[in-house]
Protein backbone atom coordinates (compact mmCIF):
# COMPACT_ATOMS: atom_id res chain seq x y z
CA UNK A 1 0.00 0.00 0.00
CA UNK A 2 2.79 2.34 0.94
CA UNK A 3 4.53 1.67 -2.34
CA UNK A 4 1.35 2.30 -4.28
CA UNK A 5 0.90 5.59 -2.48
CA UNK A 6 4.46 6.60 -3.23
CA UNK A 7 3.95 5.86 -6.88
CA UNK A 8 0.53 7.41 -7.11
CA UNK A 9 1.10 10.65 -5.28
CA UNK A 10 3.84 12.05 -7.51
CA UNK A 11 1.78 11.08 -10.54
CA UNK A 12 -1.29 12.64 -9.00
CA UNK A 13 0.72 15.73 -8.27
CA UNK A 14 1.83 15.93 -11.84
CA UNK A 15 -1.69 15.41 -13.04
CA UNK A 16 -3.23 17.85 -10.68
CA UNK A 17 -0.67 20.50 -11.34
CA UNK A 18 -1.56 20.09 -14.94
CA UNK A 19 -5.31 20.06 -14.58
CA UNK A 20 -5.42 22.75 -11.96
CA UNK A 21 -3.97 25.23 -14.37
CA UNK A 22 -6.85 26.76 -16.26
CA UNK A 23 -6.84 25.46 -19.79
CA UNK A 24 -9.03 25.54 -22.87
CA UNK A 25 -10.65 23.31 -25.51
CA UNK A 26 -13.43 22.73 -28.03
CA UNK A 27 -14.54 19.74 -30.05
CA UNK A 28 -13.85 19.48 -33.74
CA UNK A 29 -17.46 19.44 -34.76
CA UNK A 30 -18.30 22.40 -32.57
CA UNK A 31 -15.37 24.48 -33.65
CA UNK A 32 -15.73 23.78 -37.34
CA UNK A 33 -19.24 25.08 -37.24
CA UNK A 34 -18.16 28.20 -35.44
CA UNK A 35 -14.88 29.24 -37.01
CA UNK A 36 -14.88 31.36 -40.09
CA UNK A 37 -18.46 30.68 -41.07
CA UNK A 38 -20.28 32.79 -38.57
CA UNK A 39 -20.99 36.26 -39.81
CA UNK A 40 -22.07 37.23 -36.32
CA UNK A 41 -18.66 36.78 -34.80
CA UNK A 42 -15.26 37.68 -36.16
CA UNK A 43 -13.45 37.27 -32.86
CA UNK A 44 -12.29 33.75 -33.66
CA UNK A 45 -13.51 32.73 -30.26
CA UNK A 46 -14.01 29.05 -30.99
CA UNK A 47 -10.89 26.93 -30.69
CA UNK A 48 -10.55 23.58 -32.33
CA UNK A 49 -9.31 20.33 -30.92
CA UNK A 50 -9.90 16.85 -32.20
CA UNK A 51 -11.76 14.58 -29.78
CA UNK A 52 -11.80 11.18 -31.49
CA UNK A 53 -12.26 9.19 -28.29
CA UNK A 54 -14.98 11.37 -26.79
CA UNK A 55 -17.04 8.49 -25.32
CA UNK A 56 -13.99 7.15 -23.47
CA UNK A 57 -12.96 10.66 -22.46
CA UNK A 58 -16.43 11.34 -21.06
CA UNK A 59 -16.26 8.14 -19.01
CA UNK A 60 -12.84 9.08 -17.63
CA UNK A 61 -14.12 12.60 -16.95
CA UNK A 62 -16.96 11.16 -14.86
CA UNK A 63 -14.53 8.91 -13.01
CA UNK A 64 -12.18 11.80 -12.28
CA UNK A 65 -15.08 13.97 -11.19
CA UNK A 66 -15.95 11.42 -8.51
CA UNK A 67 -12.31 11.08 -7.49
CA UNK A 68 -11.90 14.86 -7.15
CA UNK A 69 -15.11 15.16 -5.17
CA UNK A 70 -14.78 12.20 -2.81
CA UNK A 71 -10.99 11.81 -2.40
CA UNK A 72 -9.11 14.96 -3.37
CA UNK A 73 -11.56 17.52 -2.00
CA UNK A 74 -11.44 16.09 1.57
CA UNK A 75 -7.62 16.03 1.39
CA UNK A 76 -7.57 19.64 0.16
CA UNK A 77 -10.00 20.71 2.90
CA UNK A 78 -7.88 19.04 5.55
CA UNK A 79 -4.80 20.81 4.21
CA UNK A 80 -6.46 24.24 4.16
CA UNK A 81 -7.83 23.64 7.67
CA UNK A 82 -4.44 22.73 9.12
CA UNK A 83 -2.40 25.43 7.42
CA UNK A 84 -3.47 29.09 7.54
CA UNK A 85 -3.47 31.01 4.28
CA UNK A 86 -0.14 32.86 4.76
CA UNK A 87 1.59 29.54 5.42
CA UNK A 88 0.00 27.95 2.35
CA UNK A 89 1.05 30.96 0.29
CA UNK A 90 4.67 30.55 1.41
CA UNK A 91 4.59 26.81 0.66
CA UNK A 92 3.22 27.59 -2.82
CA UNK A 93 5.89 30.25 -3.33
CA UNK A 94 8.67 27.85 -2.36
CA UNK A 95 7.46 25.08 -4.70
CA UNK A 96 7.01 27.52 -7.56
CA UNK A 97 10.48 28.94 -6.94
CA UNK A 98 12.06 25.47 -7.06
CA UNK A 99 10.29 24.85 -10.38
CA UNK A 100 12.55 27.53 -11.86
CA UNK A 101 14.35 25.11 -14.28
CA UNK A 102 11.05 24.35 -16.04
CA UNK A 103 10.48 28.03 -16.81
CA UNK A 104 14.12 28.88 -17.46
CA UNK A 105 14.89 25.98 -19.83
CA UNK A 106 11.65 26.38 -21.76
CA UNK A 107 12.11 30.14 -22.13
CA UNK A 108 15.53 29.37 -23.62
CA UNK A 109 14.21 26.58 -25.87
CA UNK A 110 11.71 29.05 -27.29
CA UNK A 111 14.44 31.62 -27.94
CA UNK A 112 13.01 33.95 -25.29
CA UNK A 113 16.36 34.74 -23.73
CA UNK A 114 15.21 37.98 -22.16
CA UNK A 115 12.47 36.05 -20.39
CA UNK A 116 14.96 33.35 -19.35
CA UNK A 117 17.14 36.10 -17.87
CA UNK A 118 14.21 37.47 -15.93
CA UNK A 119 13.42 33.99 -14.63
CA UNK A 120 17.01 33.70 -13.41
CA UNK A 121 16.71 37.09 -11.70
CA UNK A 122 13.42 36.05 -10.10
CA UNK A 123 14.96 32.84 -8.82
CA UNK A 124 17.94 34.71 -7.41
CA UNK A 125 15.87 37.41 -5.72
CA UNK A 126 13.28 35.03 -4.30
CA UNK A 127 15.85 32.50 -3.12
CA UNK A 128 18.09 35.05 -1.40
CA UNK A 129 15.84 37.91 -0.32
CA UNK A 130 12.73 35.70 -0.17
CA UNK A 131 14.28 33.20 2.25
CA UNK A 132 14.58 30.15 -0.01
CA UNK A 133 11.56 31.20 -2.01
CA UNK A 134 9.10 31.40 0.88
CA UNK A 135 8.32 35.01 -0.01
CA UNK A 136 7.81 36.16 -3.58
CA UNK A 137 9.85 39.32 -3.40
CA UNK A 138 9.91 39.53 -7.21
CA UNK A 139 6.23 40.59 -7.18
CA UNK A 140 7.40 43.93 -5.80
CA UNK A 141 9.80 44.48 -8.71
CA UNK A 142 8.04 45.99 -11.72
CA UNK A 143 10.11 44.21 -14.38
CA UNK A 144 9.76 40.79 -12.72
CA UNK A 145 6.22 40.68 -11.47
CA UNK A 146 4.53 39.75 -14.76
CA UNK A 147 6.82 37.24 -16.47
CA UNK A 148 4.65 34.64 -18.25
CA UNK A 149 5.56 31.14 -17.02
CA UNK A 150 6.84 28.91 -19.81
CA UNK A 151 6.51 25.13 -19.81
CA UNK A 152 7.35 22.21 -22.11
CA UNK A 153 3.89 22.07 -23.72
CA UNK A 154 4.27 25.71 -24.75
CA UNK A 155 7.72 24.98 -26.17
CA UNK A 156 6.32 22.18 -28.34
CA UNK A 157 3.55 24.55 -29.49
CA UNK A 158 6.16 27.19 -30.34
CA UNK A 159 8.05 24.59 -32.35
CA UNK A 160 4.94 24.04 -34.44
CA UNK A 161 3.47 20.92 -32.88
CA UNK A 162 -0.33 20.81 -32.89
CA UNK A 163 -2.41 19.57 -29.98
CA UNK A 164 -3.16 16.15 -31.44
CA UNK A 165 -6.14 14.38 -29.92
CA UNK A 166 -7.84 15.56 -26.74
CA UNK A 167 -7.27 13.07 -23.94
CA UNK A 168 -8.77 12.96 -20.46
CA UNK A 169 -6.17 11.22 -18.34
CA UNK A 170 -7.29 9.24 -15.29
CA UNK A 171 -6.58 11.29 -12.15
CA UNK A 172 -4.74 14.02 -14.06
CA UNK A 173 -7.65 15.29 -16.13
CA UNK A 174 -7.71 17.21 -19.42
CA UNK A 175 -4.77 17.01 -21.78
CA UNK A 176 -3.84 16.51 -25.42
CA UNK A 177 -1.23 14.41 -27.21
CA UNK A 178 1.17 17.35 -27.18
CA UNK A 179 0.54 18.29 -23.59
CA UNK A 180 1.19 14.71 -22.42
CA UNK A 181 4.69 14.96 -23.89
CA UNK A 182 4.99 18.42 -22.33
CA UNK A 183 4.01 17.06 -18.94
CA UNK A 184 6.76 14.46 -19.15
CA UNK A 185 9.25 17.24 -19.94
CA UNK A 186 8.05 19.38 -17.05
CA UNK A 187 8.20 16.39 -14.73
CA UNK A 188 11.83 15.71 -15.63
CA UNK A 189 12.80 19.38 -15.34
CA UNK A 190 11.19 19.93 -11.96
CA UNK A 191 13.76 19.39 -9.17
CA UNK A 192 11.10 18.12 -6.78
CA UNK A 193 10.88 14.99 -8.94
CA UNK A 194 14.61 14.47 -9.29
CA UNK A 195 14.63 12.08 -6.35
CA UNK A 196 12.49 9.77 -8.44
CA UNK A 197 14.11 10.59 -11.75
CA UNK A 198 17.61 9.79 -10.54
CA UNK A 199 17.06 7.18 -7.86
CA UNK A 200 13.72 5.58 -8.65
CA UNK A 201 11.52 5.12 -5.60
CA UNK A 202 14.13 3.29 -3.56
CA UNK A 203 15.00 6.18 -1.26
CA UNK A 204 12.54 7.00 1.45
CA UNK A 205 12.91 10.75 1.08
CA UNK A 206 12.27 10.80 -2.66
CA UNK A 207 8.48 10.65 -2.38
CA UNK A 208 8.18 13.53 0.07
CA UNK A 209 8.67 16.60 -2.20
CA UNK A 210 6.32 15.46 -4.99
CA UNK A 211 3.69 14.33 -2.49
CA UNK A 212 3.88 17.71 -0.77
CA UNK A 213 3.54 19.36 -4.15
CA UNK A 214 0.45 17.31 -4.95
CA UNK A 215 -1.26 18.21 -1.73
CA UNK A 216 -0.35 21.89 -1.68
CA UNK A 217 -1.58 22.35 -5.25
CA UNK A 218 -4.88 20.52 -4.70
CA UNK A 219 -6.98 23.41 -3.32
CA UNK A 220 -6.23 25.78 -6.20
CA UNK A 221 -6.46 23.04 -8.82
CA UNK A 222 -9.81 21.89 -7.52
CA UNK A 223 -11.03 25.49 -7.40
CA UNK A 224 -10.04 25.94 -11.04
CA UNK A 225 -11.68 22.68 -12.02
CA UNK A 226 -14.88 23.48 -10.15
CA UNK A 227 -15.02 26.95 -11.69
CA UNK A 228 -14.60 25.47 -15.17
CA UNK A 229 -17.67 23.34 -14.74
CA UNK A 230 -19.74 25.63 -12.51
CA UNK A 231 -22.77 27.04 -14.34
CA UNK A 232 -21.89 24.91 -17.34
CA UNK A 233 -24.50 23.54 -19.68
CA UNK A 234 -22.32 20.52 -20.45
CA UNK A 235 -19.48 20.31 -17.89
CA UNK A 236 -17.37 18.00 -20.08
CA UNK A 237 -17.46 20.43 -23.01
CA UNK A 238 -16.98 23.42 -20.71
CA UNK A 239 -13.84 21.96 -19.13
CA UNK A 240 -12.47 20.92 -22.53
CA UNK A 241 -13.08 24.42 -23.89
CA UNK A 242 -11.50 26.07 -20.86
CA UNK A 243 -8.46 23.79 -21.08
CA UNK A 244 -7.77 24.30 -24.78
CA UNK A 245 -8.36 28.06 -24.73
CA UNK A 246 -6.08 28.49 -21.73
CA UNK A 247 -3.27 26.39 -23.21
CA UNK A 248 -3.48 28.17 -26.55
CA UNK A 249 -3.37 31.51 -24.80
CA UNK A 250 -0.36 30.48 -22.70
CA UNK A 251 1.44 29.23 -25.83
CA UNK A 252 0.87 32.54 -27.62
CA UNK A 253 2.31 34.71 -24.83
Amino acid sequence: MKIILRLLLPVAALALVSCATPKKEVSTATAKAAVGTDALDDYETAIEVSDPIEPLNRATFALNDGLYKWVFTPIAKTYTTIFPKPVRKSIDNAYENVKFPVRFVNSGLQGKFDRAGKEAQKFGVNTVAGVAGLFKVSDKIESLKDVPAEDSGQTLAKWGMGHGPYIVIPVLGPSTGREVIGLAGDYALNPINWGFVFTGDADDWAWIPPTGNTIRSMPDQLDNYNESKANAIDPYTAVRSTYIQNRNSAASE
Binding site: K24, A33, L40, T45, D220
Partner: protein, 192 residues
Protein backbone atom coordinates in the same frame (compact mmCIF):
# COMPACT_ATOMS: atom_id res chain seq x y z
CA UNK B 1 4.72 74.54 -49.45
CA UNK B 2 5.98 71.57 -47.56
CA UNK B 3 3.18 69.04 -47.65
CA UNK B 4 4.95 66.37 -45.67
CA UNK B 5 3.56 67.33 -42.26
CA UNK B 6 0.07 67.37 -43.73
CA UNK B 7 0.53 63.94 -45.35
CA UNK B 8 2.00 62.57 -42.12
CA UNK B 9 -0.99 63.92 -40.22
CA UNK B 10 -3.35 62.36 -42.74
CA UNK B 11 -1.78 58.93 -42.31
CA UNK B 12 -1.69 59.21 -38.57
CA UNK B 13 -5.38 60.06 -38.32
CA UNK B 14 -6.57 56.44 -38.08
CA UNK B 15 -4.06 55.90 -35.27
CA UNK B 16 -5.23 58.98 -33.44
CA UNK B 17 -8.85 57.89 -33.89
CA UNK B 18 -8.07 54.42 -32.61
CA UNK B 19 -6.19 55.86 -29.66
CA UNK B 20 -9.10 58.11 -28.80
CA UNK B 21 -11.50 55.16 -29.08
CA UNK B 22 -9.30 53.08 -26.81
CA UNK B 23 -9.18 55.87 -24.23
CA UNK B 24 -12.91 56.39 -24.40
CA UNK B 25 -13.68 52.67 -24.10
CA UNK B 26 -11.24 52.25 -21.24
CA UNK B 27 -12.74 55.22 -19.39
CA UNK B 28 -16.19 53.69 -19.83
CA UNK B 29 -14.92 50.35 -18.51
CA UNK B 30 -13.34 51.98 -15.47
CA UNK B 31 -16.59 53.75 -14.72
CA UNK B 32 -18.52 50.50 -15.07
CA UNK B 33 -16.17 48.56 -12.81
CA UNK B 34 -16.20 51.34 -10.19
CA UNK B 35 -19.98 51.29 -10.25
CA UNK B 36 -20.09 47.51 -9.80
CA UNK B 37 -17.57 47.68 -6.95
CA UNK B 38 -19.64 50.37 -5.25
CA UNK B 39 -22.68 48.07 -5.44
CA UNK B 40 -20.70 45.09 -4.13
CA UNK B 41 -19.50 47.21 -1.19
CA UNK B 42 -23.12 47.77 -0.16
CA UNK B 43 -24.34 44.16 -0.27
CA UNK B 44 -23.61 41.40 2.18
CA UNK B 45 -24.34 38.23 0.25
CA UNK B 46 -23.81 36.66 -3.17
CA UNK B 47 -27.52 36.34 -3.92
CA UNK B 48 -28.11 39.99 -2.99
CA UNK B 49 -25.26 40.99 -5.28
CA UNK B 50 -26.71 39.08 -8.23
CA UNK B 51 -30.04 40.90 -7.85
CA UNK B 52 -28.68 44.37 -7.09
CA UNK B 53 -25.97 44.37 -9.72
CA UNK B 54 -28.17 43.15 -12.59
CA UNK B 55 -29.50 46.55 -13.79
CA UNK B 56 -26.00 48.05 -13.46
CA UNK B 57 -24.48 45.28 -15.57
CA UNK B 58 -27.25 45.51 -18.15
CA UNK B 59 -26.23 49.12 -18.74
CA UNK B 60 -22.59 48.25 -19.30
CA UNK B 61 -22.68 44.77 -20.84
CA UNK B 62 -24.38 43.91 -24.11
CA UNK B 63 -25.97 40.63 -23.03
CA UNK B 64 -27.87 40.43 -26.31
CA UNK B 65 -24.58 40.44 -28.26
CA UNK B 66 -23.09 37.90 -25.86
CA UNK B 67 -26.05 35.54 -26.16
CA UNK B 68 -26.17 35.84 -29.94
CA UNK B 69 -22.52 34.96 -30.25
CA UNK B 70 -22.65 32.24 -27.62
CA UNK B 71 -25.39 30.52 -29.60
CA UNK B 72 -23.59 31.09 -32.91
CA UNK B 73 -25.10 30.33 -36.29
CA UNK B 74 -28.27 28.87 -34.82
CA UNK B 75 -29.30 32.30 -33.51
CA UNK B 76 -30.79 33.20 -36.90
CA UNK B 77 -33.32 30.41 -36.46
CA UNK B 78 -34.57 31.69 -33.09
CA UNK B 79 -37.81 33.68 -33.29
CA UNK B 80 -38.01 37.02 -31.45
CA UNK B 81 -39.60 35.50 -28.34
CA UNK B 82 -36.99 32.73 -28.22
CA UNK B 83 -34.18 35.27 -28.61
CA UNK B 84 -35.54 37.31 -25.70
CA UNK B 85 -36.01 34.23 -23.53
CA UNK B 86 -32.50 32.94 -24.32
CA UNK B 87 -30.98 36.38 -23.62
CA UNK B 88 -32.75 36.64 -20.24
CA UNK B 89 -31.60 33.18 -19.22
CA UNK B 90 -28.04 33.70 -20.43
CA UNK B 91 -27.90 37.03 -18.58
CA UNK B 92 -28.93 35.29 -15.36
CA UNK B 93 -26.35 32.56 -15.93
CA UNK B 94 -23.49 34.98 -16.60
CA UNK B 95 -24.34 37.20 -13.61
CA UNK B 96 -24.60 34.14 -11.38
CA UNK B 97 -21.26 32.83 -12.68
CA UNK B 98 -19.47 36.00 -11.68
CA UNK B 99 -21.35 36.80 -8.48
CA UNK B 100 -20.59 33.26 -7.26
CA UNK B 101 -16.92 34.26 -7.08
CA UNK B 102 -17.75 37.23 -4.87
CA UNK B 103 -16.91 37.20 -1.17
CA UNK B 104 -18.41 40.04 0.89
CA UNK B 105 -15.72 42.33 2.25
CA UNK B 106 -13.05 41.32 -0.26
CA UNK B 107 -12.18 44.02 -2.78
CA UNK B 108 -10.25 43.27 -5.98
CA UNK B 109 -7.27 45.34 -7.04
CA UNK B 110 -7.42 46.05 -10.77
CA UNK B 111 -4.54 47.33 -12.87
CA UNK B 112 -5.43 48.62 -16.33
CA UNK B 113 -2.93 48.04 -19.14
CA UNK B 114 -2.71 49.71 -22.52
CA UNK B 115 -5.92 49.22 -24.48
CA UNK B 116 -5.80 48.18 -28.12
CA UNK B 117 -8.26 48.68 -30.96
CA UNK B 118 -8.31 45.46 -33.06
CA UNK B 119 -10.94 46.91 -35.41
CA UNK B 120 -13.16 49.94 -35.84
CA UNK B 121 -15.72 50.06 -33.06
CA UNK B 122 -13.83 47.53 -30.98
CA UNK B 123 -11.38 47.94 -28.12
CA UNK B 124 -9.70 45.31 -25.95
CA UNK B 125 -8.77 46.44 -22.45
CA UNK B 126 -6.29 44.07 -20.76
CA UNK B 127 -6.18 44.20 -16.98
CA UNK B 128 -4.64 42.29 -14.13
CA UNK B 129 -6.89 41.50 -11.24
CA UNK B 130 -5.73 40.51 -7.79
CA UNK B 131 -8.49 38.97 -5.70
CA UNK B 132 -8.04 37.12 -2.43
CA UNK B 133 -4.31 36.82 -3.10
CA UNK B 134 -4.62 35.32 -6.59
CA UNK B 135 -3.58 37.04 -9.81
CA UNK B 136 -5.73 36.82 -12.94
CA UNK B 137 -5.25 38.21 -16.44
CA UNK B 138 -8.63 39.60 -17.52
CA UNK B 139 -9.29 41.22 -20.89
CA UNK B 140 -12.52 43.11 -21.48
CA UNK B 141 -13.68 43.24 -25.10
CA UNK B 142 -15.55 46.48 -25.60
CA UNK B 143 -17.74 47.35 -28.59
CA UNK B 144 -19.69 50.36 -29.70
CA UNK B 145 -23.23 49.13 -29.17
CA UNK B 146 -25.24 52.21 -28.14
CA UNK B 147 -22.01 53.58 -26.65
CA UNK B 148 -19.08 51.50 -25.45
CA UNK B 149 -20.26 48.29 -23.83
CA UNK B 150 -18.61 45.05 -22.74
CA UNK B 151 -19.16 42.30 -25.33
CA UNK B 152 -16.92 39.54 -23.92
CA UNK B 153 -14.69 38.83 -20.94
CA UNK B 154 -11.52 36.78 -21.38
CA UNK B 155 -10.07 35.35 -18.16
CA UNK B 156 -6.63 33.71 -18.38
CA UNK B 157 -7.14 33.34 -22.12
CA UNK B 158 -10.59 31.78 -21.75
CA UNK B 159 -13.35 33.66 -23.53
CA UNK B 160 -16.76 33.51 -21.91
CA UNK B 161 -18.46 33.52 -25.30
CA UNK B 162 -16.21 30.82 -26.81
CA UNK B 163 -16.73 28.63 -23.78
CA UNK B 164 -20.52 28.80 -23.98
CA UNK B 165 -20.55 28.55 -27.75
CA UNK B 166 -18.74 25.22 -27.57
CA UNK B 167 -21.62 23.97 -25.43
CA UNK B 168 -24.63 25.70 -27.01
CA UNK B 169 -23.64 24.99 -30.60
CA UNK B 170 -23.91 21.23 -30.11
CA UNK B 171 -27.11 21.67 -28.10
CA UNK B 172 -28.64 23.62 -30.98
CA UNK B 173 -27.61 20.95 -33.49
CA UNK B 174 -29.26 18.29 -31.39
CA UNK B 175 -32.57 20.00 -30.71
CA UNK B 176 -32.76 23.50 -32.15
CA UNK B 177 -33.75 26.68 -30.31
CA UNK B 178 -36.02 24.93 -27.83
CA UNK B 179 -33.19 22.62 -26.75
CA UNK B 180 -30.91 25.63 -26.18
CA UNK B 181 -33.57 27.35 -24.07
CA UNK B 182 -34.26 24.15 -22.14
CA UNK B 183 -30.57 23.63 -21.40
CA UNK B 184 -30.22 27.24 -20.25
CA UNK B 185 -33.26 26.84 -18.01
CA UNK B 186 -31.78 23.68 -16.50
CA UNK B 187 -28.46 25.42 -15.83
CA UNK B 188 -30.16 28.42 -14.25
CA UNK B 189 -32.37 26.25 -12.04
CA UNK B 190 -29.41 24.19 -10.79
CA UNK B 191 -27.91 25.43 -7.52
CA UNK B 192 -24.69 27.29 -8.33
Amino acid sequence: MNRRPFVALLFSLPLITKGAAADEAQARLRGAIDEVLAVSDRVSSRSALATTVRPVLQRHISFETMTRRAVGLGWKQFNAAQQKKATDLFTTLVIRTYSSKFTPGERPVITYKTATAPAAGRVDVPTTLVYKGSHYAVTYRMEQISGWRIADVVIEGVSLIANYRSQLDSTFKQGGAEAVIRSLEQSVSRPS
